[in-house]
């Protein structure tokens, strides 16, 4: 039998022809990595809208050079994120890369960034703490906030305003909900609230049948904190209503967002009044946000009714990349050293307020406290209750102090 040498020869020719393409002098290659396949495709597409919105704003030029956008796709697994990143960096030769979308991908790309010190990485929407908190990479920047920051103010709010003292937790069993639960419970428990470990229910991600978990939820708590996303959240809410559940809910950042409230099927009036917090608020009446929403709607008539937090995060990071390019006049010839120095000190106006970086290159930005309410035409939306200004990753304490809290996990904080 003869090995099929044709295929190999074809590969060889391709290899010779397609070595790492060097950017021409008058253009800069920028990569954008998001989840464009699999179940999260919709979110990845909205992320790309954010990137294009920022590029369009700059007319695809920054620092006097043309920006050439090259997209990469992952399937939300860290392995695929690394392969796509490697291709963008080593094959396509991008010098600036925006992405990825999800938490564990972010951690993987950060590790990869350490091996490519001359390439500049800006986070997409991935929201794991350790992407910047522990062992950060010198060339990885996050101008969006992360999962624990998103919960800022919510713990205090439900303790002080709602008067909840004990809370049961229902969340998906992986790092993003751990981060959210941590961000919510940390202040709540410090004030004296209780959320014992046996009242925390960690369900596998992708679980659809919550009826037995609902039956197992305790009755003697004031509220249930729910950190589920997408289809999982939709299922839980319907089944909770069906089972005649009557405890008030507190939502994680993606539990009562537009993708859940706007899903096809029954309207869920009983979630009206559910407080939540996150990096954006759909109905914020601030002019900067309204302008952003208008631009989004005008450019993408087939997009969401209003930009998702993914579009928002990618937009901010892309914009940061372009602003800094303007400042260095598009000069990346020193392996981007000067560029990254500018990025580190960058502070600019976003649709959701001012953003600046801390010393580990993570954003300090405003967070929105919201509550589900009924809109004018009967649909449900999130009303802005309060804007929590300049939330830092260490939630107001010093870095060393914050590290003592330990990494996020099922039991952190204890709060018995």
């Amino acid at each position: 039998m003869i090995p099929d040498s044709r295929t190999l020869i074809a590969a060889a020719i391709a290899a010779v022809l397609a070595g790492p393409a060097m950017a021409q002098d008058d253009s800069i290659k920028m990569g954008a990595l998001a989840t464009l396949e699999g179940a999260f495709t919709v979110l990845g597409e909205d992320s790309m809208r954010g990137v294009k919105l920022a590029l369009e704003e700059f007319k695809y030029t920054a620092g006097g050079k043309k920006i050439e956008l090259i997209t990469g796709s992952s399937d939300a697994s860290p392995d695929s994120a690394i392969r796509a990143t490697r291709k963008l960096v080593e094959q396509d030769g991008v010098q600036v890369l925006v992405g990825p979308l999800s938490g564990s991908e972010g951690l993987a790309v950060k590790d990869y960034a350490k091996t490519k010190p001359n390439v500049t990485f800006l986070n997409g929407s991935s929201a794991a703490q350790d992407t910047t908190l522990r062992e950060p990479a010198e060339n990885f920047f996050r101008f969006g906030t992360e999962g624990a920051q998103w919960m800022a103010g919510l713990g205090e709010y439900v303790y002080n305003e709602k008067g909840y003292r004990s809370i049961a937790v229902l969340a998906e069993d992986y790092s993003f909900p751990y981060t959210q639960v941590f961000g919510f419970l940390e202040p709540f428990c410090r004030l004296g609230g209780k959320a014992p470990a046996d009242a925390r229910f960690w369900v596998p991600i992708g679980n659809k049948d919550y009826s037995s978990v609902i039956a197992a939820l305790p009755d003697d708590v004031d509220a249930i904190y729910v950190a589920l996303g997408g289809a999982d959240a939709v299922n839980f809410l319907t089944q909770y209503e069906q089972a005649g559940g009557d405890l008030p809910l507190v939502g994680g950042s993606i539990t009562v967002d537009q993708t859940v409230l706007g899903s096809k099927g029954r309207t869920r009036d009983f979630v009206i009044g559910t407080p939540s917090a996150g990096p954006i608020s759909d109905t914020w009446d601030d002019a900067r946000w309204q302008k952003f929403v208008e631009a989004y709607k005008a450019q993408f008539p087939d997009g969401f009714p209003s930009p998702s937090l993914f579009a928002h995060a990618y937009y901010i990071n892309t914009k940061a990349a372009l602003l800094a390019l303007n400042e260095v006049g598009g000069d990346l010839s020193d392996g981007g050293k000067k560029y990254r120095a500018v990025l580190s000190g960058l502070s600019f106006e976003t649709p959701t307020g001012m953003v600046k970086l801390d010393e580990r290159r993570n954003a300090v930005a405003d967070i929105f406290l919201t509550e589900v309410s009924e809109g004018p035409d009967g649909n449900l939306l999130n009303k802005t209750i309060k804007v929590i200004p300049s939330v830092s990753q260490t939630l107001g304490v010093s870095y060393d102090e914050f590290l003592k809290y330990g990494p996020v996990s099922r039991e952190n904080p204890k709060c018995g």
Binding site: A39, L43, N207, S212, V213, A231, V234, T259, G265
Partner: protein
């Protein structure tokens, strides 16, 4: 039944005892020591009912799978895709007509038709080549999943069932007795009880169809000996197409039932395919009663796992599968 008791007296007694304990736990008011041992009665009974109703859903999906396998030795790994496609088509039909039952009917008919197409266009061409048929179904499911994602995107869909099916009913089961002496009765979603009723109805209908009709007789004859059936002058291809239609149609039907109880989203195809696989491996390939038993075991295991030890609940069902395979490779009701 009598033969089973005679041959496996020990197991028959064990089954009776377990059933007795379960009945007592459902209807009695729990003493304190039991509550302190395994928690509130409400959790237990609810979980038990959830297990039963989930078993009903699993049976609906798996019965079609096992029916097709029994006759044609065809492992249809696109069965999950048919479930999901049925759910989407049912949703569109229900939306367009404003009637949930229209959606249910449309799903059954459309997927039954898709099943016939698959049988006539693909499987008939590679008869007797089990492996290739199975590989084709894998290819079909990869492409189908992607195309469905393209059409219906990643959004979650939920059916709006008729109002009288939504909400909770009070069951004549005492959950607990308050200190004031007032009895608290258990509440349970009506729709899930309806799922169980539908599953039982479909199970009985299938049994009647297979055992009391001429076509059913042919099908059973085909399961035992395909060549003999063909030799008696029956048009085997028509019987095949029909079984495939029923099997696929049941998957589509289950899509609407399940999509209403839970929801429709990408990934559900794999979930229900796996559920069907495990159910029929445990129950015995090709046996409809086996599918019922397997569904019951897996449904209960999944729900009790989720309620009492959520972390490893998912693994429990697979553990049952491995144990059954080790002890009885052909499955509980499978013929060796």
């Amino acid at each position: 039944m009598r033969r089973f008791i005679e041959r496996h007296t020990f197991w028959a007694i064990m089954i009776l005892i377990v059933a007795g304990i379960f009945l007592w736990m459902i209807f009695a008011v729990w003493p304190d020591w039991l509550i302190s041992a395994i928690g509130r009665k409400k959790t237990f009974v609810n979980t038990f009912l959830n297990g039963l109703t989930l078993a009903g859903l699993y049976f609906l999906v798996a019965s079609g799978f096992t029916l097709v396998f029994g006759l044609m030795r065809n492992v249809n790994l696109a069965h999950g895709s048919m479930y999901l496609l049925g759910a989407y088509i049912g949703y569109e039909a229900a939306e367009a007509s404003g009637n949930w039952f229209v959606g249910l009917g449309a799903a059954f008919i459309a997927i039954a038709f898709a099943g016939i197409l698959l049988q006539v266009l693909v499987f008939r061409r590679m008869e007797g080549d089990d492996l290739r048929q199975t590989l084709v179904t894998i290819g079909v499911s990869i492409v189908a999943a992607d195309l469905m994602l393209a059409i219906w995107s990643g959004t979650t869909y939920q059916f709006a069932p008729p109002e009288w099916l939504f909400g909770a009913a009070e069951l004549p089961i005492i959950s607990t007795i308050r200190s004031s002496g007032k009895e608290v009765f258990l509440k349970y979603p009506i729709y899930r009880l309806a799922v169980l009723a539908v599953a039982i109805a479909v199970g009985i209908a299938l049994w009647l169809f297979l055992n009391r009709t001429r076509i059913g007789m042919m099908i059973r004859a085909g399961v035992n000996d395909r060549d003999m059936l063909a030799a008696t002058g029956v048009n085997v291809q028509v019987v095949f197409a029909m079984v495939f239609a029923i099997g696929a149609g049941l998957a589509g039907f289950a899509g609407v039932i399940g999509g209403t109880a839970l929801s429709i989203a990408p990934g559900e195809d794999i979930r229900y395919l796996l559920a069907s696989l495990v159910v029929v491996i445990v129950g015995g390939m090709g046996s409809v009663p086996g599918a019922a038993i397997g569904a019951l075991l897996i449904g209960l295991a999944e729900q009790f796992g989720l309620a009492y030890f959520p972390t490893y609940g998912v693994v429990l069902t697979f553990l049952i599968m491995v144990v059954v395979l080790a002890v009885r490779p052909q499955g509980i009701m499978g013929s060796s």
